[in-house]
Symmetry: C2
């Protein structure tokens, strides 16, 4: 195997491949990146228990002198390519055991991983694609993924549910304390699907989408989904089980509705939560929100050890409904608010002990729901 | 106690006071900041086992309605002032137990710490000052403090030795593997002094000097040194014991001398050390430097598990001396190099198993010394 390639080009591709490298694994060969050099392109593959990534490089800067297949220690290779500054990098083998990397006046020799130890990575067959806009998916991940569960108590909740039927893409995430939902009219010539994608895989996928603007093809089987971009395959396992039907927990009647400027509300919540007590079970700061008779909203917290905090927030327009008081996690409210693009949002309350929901003026397909906590 | 002050002004001062707050302490009252409000100024004090800080505020924005003395929970107060955005902040007391902080529409009530529990903080008497340029001291701290020991094996080495005699300020730090020394002609009307200041105190002092450009007054007793700036007192304990005489370990004869471009050498060292083995005792990456017969310098490392790295560095001018090989910590060399302002530096070698020293073209008063490690 002998080839050369421009450094910047290779680094960009390796940073995508890196998302498939394990941090720990019972199979040490997976710490390697498989390089397969064909007549006119290079295929790089990485894999861990959650995802498998493949990048095809047919960059004009790639010049292949001799084809071959090797497995290169991934972390060291990426560190080397990151640190060298030469424009061009040359790769060659010594006795099929040692990889020589030359970059200007630097020369590295890396012990290769035995290719026999590297497992076969199965990517799904590329037929019958579902075609979606990558930027739409990126946006949905940003809006929902933070609301997934981090605890493995109910594993199905550690992913985002993507459901497609009747020209609607319905995406939902919940950790059973709050819920993010996006329901869009999307026309794709697909049959329906209903999958739950692990939150960690979505984090990595979102970063890949940051540098990608075209459509993405999805291929689904009962255990996996493959996202195909121009030169990138990103495959992740799916979560097993049936995602709970969350639509029924969204209240329909909202006797109180208060419009806010989003940034003003976030600042007020963060100030008040500086001193708020931590809820034992979830370790979140609990704050109170009160719509007063004078139509001003008061946000407050009490901490018997430290002290109290209290803030008045003037609604962005006249609130609807009677005075009321409700308590909830400050973190849930500020994270929920931040997931909206709108600068003006509305909070609709169904009652003092019922879930409340946030909507945004410019986020028409999106709902964020938060469960209150009971206080004395 | 009733007063008001501009938020930005107070925050700046609290960020200095913060440097005296403990992270842990057997005396919980020290988590508080002492506020003493006089007729026309405010005095804030904090203290931990290493340092004590006092800031005097007589800012024009300070308006005092009622004098008094209280101890306010430090971390909460600073977080509150950091988070509020109003221009002006008002402070008042409720029944001498509760501090009320008002900022626009926010109101905080903080439980006070009993002032009886707060220990008396003794600052040294302000007579017979040694006057020094704060920017000179800031520079010296930057150039030496990183070379102090982090381990407490020999506590005296965890500080920088400042010695003044015969119009010379001599500053040195060493962890016994490397040494930074600065020896300057400084004229101050002081008698001589010889003190060792703890590295953590110097870190904090350096940050204060970042925002201060005037002269600083030093007051020294056998256990403490007080740095007096315009409205700031910064006092730190001194390390006990006699600092070792390090001058004798600096070689006088250097048969080999190699000039380098500093940045080029740092980059080469960092690339080569990517794969270098860790030295058991000090856990630092060990690399080799060789002056070859062809007058090119080769830097290399060998790691039996991972592989080899090798880099040629062309000296900035003709090297002096015969071919030689030496091994040392990559971290020590790159940290040492970074402490120089010069873009062109020279490394003088006394022999393959003797300390070598770095000098900079534009750092005339400064020497950095590194001990080699023995290799096969």
């Amino acid at each position: 195997m002998v080839f050369a390639i421009d450094r910047d080009q290779l680094l960009d591709q390796l940073l995508i491949i890196q998302k498939g490298l394990p941090t720990k694994t019972p199979m040490p060969a997976l710490f390697g990146i498989k390089f397969e050099l064909f007549e006119d392109y290079l295929l790089m593959t990485s894999s861990n228990t959650d995802v498998a990534v493949q990048v095809l490089s047919d960059d004009p800067s790639l010049s292949i002198t001799k084809t071959g297949r090797v497995v290169i220690p991934g972390r060291y290779l990426i560190e080397i390519i990151r640190k060298v500054t030469s424009k061009r990098i040359e790769f060659a083998l010594i006795e099929d055991r040692l990889l020589v990397i030359k970059a200007d006046r630097s020369e590295f020799k890396l012990h290769l991983i035995d290719i026999e130890d590297y497992p076969e990575i199965d990517f799904l067959d590329l037929d019958d694609p579902i075609i979606l806009d990558s930027q739409l998916l990126r946006q949905v991940i940003r809006e929902t993924n933070f609301a997934t569960a981090t605890s493995e108590k109910r594993p199905i909740l550690t992913g985002v549910n993507f459901k497609y039927e009747d020209d609607h893409l319905y995406c939902v995430a919940t950790d059973s304390y709050r819920l993010s939902q996006k329901d869009m009219k999307v026309r794709t010539h697909s049959k329906q699907f209903d999958i739950v994608v692990p939150n960690k895989s979505l984090d990595e996928l979102q970063k890949i989408f940051d540098g990608y603007s075209q459509d993405v093809e999805l291929y689904i089987n009962p255990n996996k989904v493959l996202f195909k971009m121009e030169n990138i395959l990103f495959q992740t396992r799916l979560l097993e089980g049936t995602y709970p039907d969350t639509r029924r927990i969204i209240p329909k009647e909202f006797p109180v509705s208060i419009p806010f400027n989003k940034e003003e509300l976030i600042s007020a919540v963060e100030r008040v939560s500086l001193m708020s007590p931590k809820d034992r079970e979830s370790n979140y700061s609990i704050i109170k929100l009160e719509l007063r008779a004078d139509r001003v909203v008061e946000i407050s917290s009490t901490n018997s050890e430290i002290g109290d905090a209290n803030e008045e927030v003037v609604p962005a327009a006249d609130p609807v409904g009677q005075p009321m008081r409700i308590a909830f996690s400050a973190k849930h409210l500020s994270e929920g608010l931040r997931s909206f693009s709108s600068s003006e949002i509305t909070i609709d309350f169904a009652g003092e002990v019922r879930p409340f929901i946030i909507r945004g003026d410019d986020d028409q397909d999106m709902i964020h729901l938060i469960l209150p906590v009971r206080i004395d």
